[in-house]
């Protein structure tokens, strides 16, 4: 048995040389094992990421392990930092969407929508009904595509490989539809202040509806294949319980918050675009474990399908964009607009000084709040469950680091 290098005392650490380090080591720079277990063996520090496939991007977790059990976790972010908020200060208001596309790059319409709503609020632009409906339609299609990525990778994290391929099969059809509408498969750059870039292409409605019909069957298959699997259920039920209080304290939004039993949804509580006219339910979980997060997201996909059907069926006529000046020059002021993205509340806080570019833009990314929760939730779980838990929270490092 090796001698422990450090002895933990009530008020600090004692090095083998007898040097006393008072207080807790500062967060973020600690690389030495904090404690020793009952047998006197050192805890193991594992650097998970930033190139770990199951961290869903470039998330770096410094995990302290006692055998298989996680003792402490430090979340280290910033590996994908591109300075989107700073870059926004040199972009025209109608060009901000291209930056937001690179924030949350799996549910991009929501970011564009948040920017557009903020600028519209500031300039008091009234969006035509058709533009609002098209935006909502693309937003819901994107939500489905994004939840399918979560569903597939959650399967991978729990050891179900085939799940990912089935999810990608369905997402492919969605991306084809979105490509036909906007022109690209990932970085749509479709929503602008005042409306959208172009009208829906002819014949897209029937394609969307036929997708809805096939996907409805596939979605139940997905749910039966993964959610019906007893091994999967044994892995996720009761694991990673986030209480209501914790969820509120950490500022969780979206499906992660609703899984904990709190029914806040920006689409219903601060309605925007066409959501006030749509009928949909907000699924709410009970105890906030991984199973609840799974069921809430699966039910959200069903609700998205329901909304897409309503949106295609009731698409109003009229212009697809409001009359807006070529160069947007909002009055000096401050505005906050938020949308319900696939990961929670995506908000844009704009400060303007009357110029053609924002004075300052703050991007509220829901995943950043979820990331901070890991230090609270992961300790006490098995290391194998840590990967599964990361998957269940559905974080997107593009918007965390931005």
């Amino acid at each position: 048995m090796t001698e422990p290098h450090f002895t933990v005392t009530e008020s600090g650490l004692m090095t083998p040389e007898g040097m006393y380090i008072p207080g807790e080591p500062p967060k973020g720079i600690r690389r030495i094992p904090k404690g020793v277990d009952r047998l006197g063996t050192e805890h193991l520090i594992v650097n998970m990421g930033p190139q770990h496939p199951s961290t869903h991007g470039v998330l770096h977790l410094i995990v302290e392990l006692d055998g298989e059990e996680v003792v402490t976790v430090e979340v280290s972010i910033g590996f994908l930092h591109r300075g989107i908020e700073k870059l926004a200060e040199s972009r025209r208001f109608d060009h901000l969407g291209t930056l937001m596309d690179r924030g949350d790059y799996v549910s991009v319409i929501h970011g564009e929508q948040a920017v557009a709503l903020a600028v519209e609020k500031l300039m008091e632009i009234e969006v035509p009904a058709k533009a609002a409906w098209i935006r909502t339609l693309t937003a819901e299609l994107t939500r489905l595509a994004s939840h399918l990525v979560w569903f597939g990778t959650f399967g991978l994290d729990t050891g179900a490989m085939g799940q990912f391929l089935y999810a990608m099969r369905d997402r492919e059809v969605l991306l084809d539809i979105l490509e036909e509408i906007s022109g690209q498969r990932m970085m749509f750059n479709y929503v602008r202040p005042g409306g959208v870039v172009a009208d829906l292409p002819t014949g897209i409605e029937s394609r969307i509806l036929s997708f809805c019909d096939t996907f409805e069957v596939y979605l139940e298959e997905h749910d039966a294949l993964l959610g019906g699997n007893e091994i999967f259920q044994a892995r996720v039920k009761g694991i990673g319980v986030v209480s209501k209080e914790t969820a509120l304290a950490f500022g969780l939004t979206g499906a992660n918050l609703r899984a904990s039993g709190l029914g806040f949804d920006v689409r219903r509580d601060r309605p925007y675009d066409a959501y006030p006219e749509l009928e949909f339910d907000i699924p709410i979980g009970t105890i906030g474990d991984s199973w609840d997060r799974y069921t809430v997201r699966m039910e959200e996909m069903r609700q998205s399908l329901r909304m897409i059907r309503q949106l295609v069926g009731g698409m109003p006529g009229g212009p697809f964009t409001a009359k807006v000046p070529k160069v947007l020059r909002p009055p000096a002021g401050e505005v906050y607009a938020s949308v319900e993205s696939s990961r929670g509340e995506t908000g844009i806080h704009l400060f303007t000084d009357g110029g053609t570019t924002p004075y300052r833009m703050h991007y509220r990314a829901a995943s950043l709040f979820t990331c901070q929760l890991f230090e609270e939730i992961l300790p006490g779980h098995l290391f194998a469950d840590a990967c599964m838990l990361l998957g269940s929270f559905d974080i997107m490092l593009g918007e965390v680091d931005r």
Partner: protein, 160 residues
């Protein structure tokens, strides 16, 4: 019964096996891109090979990534002569903002998706080189637009 879900999963997997492939066997098969697909920026040319660029610099100013570079010289008779319109394809994010901004419809987003190049230098494309006169489109547009002011807004389209 424990295991029922697993058996059901196997049934679903078998059903999916019979559904046939969905992949496109590229390069033996090609996908047809939708009409709006945005790939590399190209210059619109008519049958005679003439372009519509007037060197107004709108696209250069519109590009969020500053990857378009237009150099021109003004001749004695005030006509603009384009030295080059250079395009950094490797840095282009294909957002289409330059095409939207162009008042003379001189640019378009191409549909060629096989854009891989062997060297980095090939990614810098000269869209226009040494064009003697860059004004005919402006004169043509001026004759087309009826008198009575310019349209100052992006304009609201109507459906159908």
């Amino acid at each position: 019964m424990w295991g029922k879900g697993i058996l059901n999963g196997m049934r679903i997997t078998m059903r999916n096996m019979l559904r046939g492939p969905i992949t496109v066997r590229y390069p033996y098969e090609r996908v047809t891109l939708p009409e709006r697909a945005r790939w590399a920026v190209e210059v619109v040319r008519d049958e005679s090979g003439a372009h519509k660029c007037t060197a107004c610099m709108t696209c250069v100013r519109a590009c969020p990534d500053h990857i378009l570079d237009l150099q021109f010289t003004t001749a004695e008779d005030k006509s603009k002569h384009i030295d080059y319109l250079r395009y950094e394809m490797g840095a282009c994010m294909m957002c289409g903002l330059c095409v939207e901004a162009c008042p003379f419809d001189a640019l378009k987003m191409g549909q060629d998706y096989e854009l891989a190049k062997l060297t980095r230098d090939e990614l810098t494309v000269d869209l226009l080189v040494d064009v003697a006169a860059a004004a005919p489109a402006r004169a043509k547009k001026a004759s087309e637009v009826p008198a009575g002011g310019t349209d100052d807004s992006r304009g609201g389209g109507t459906d159908g």
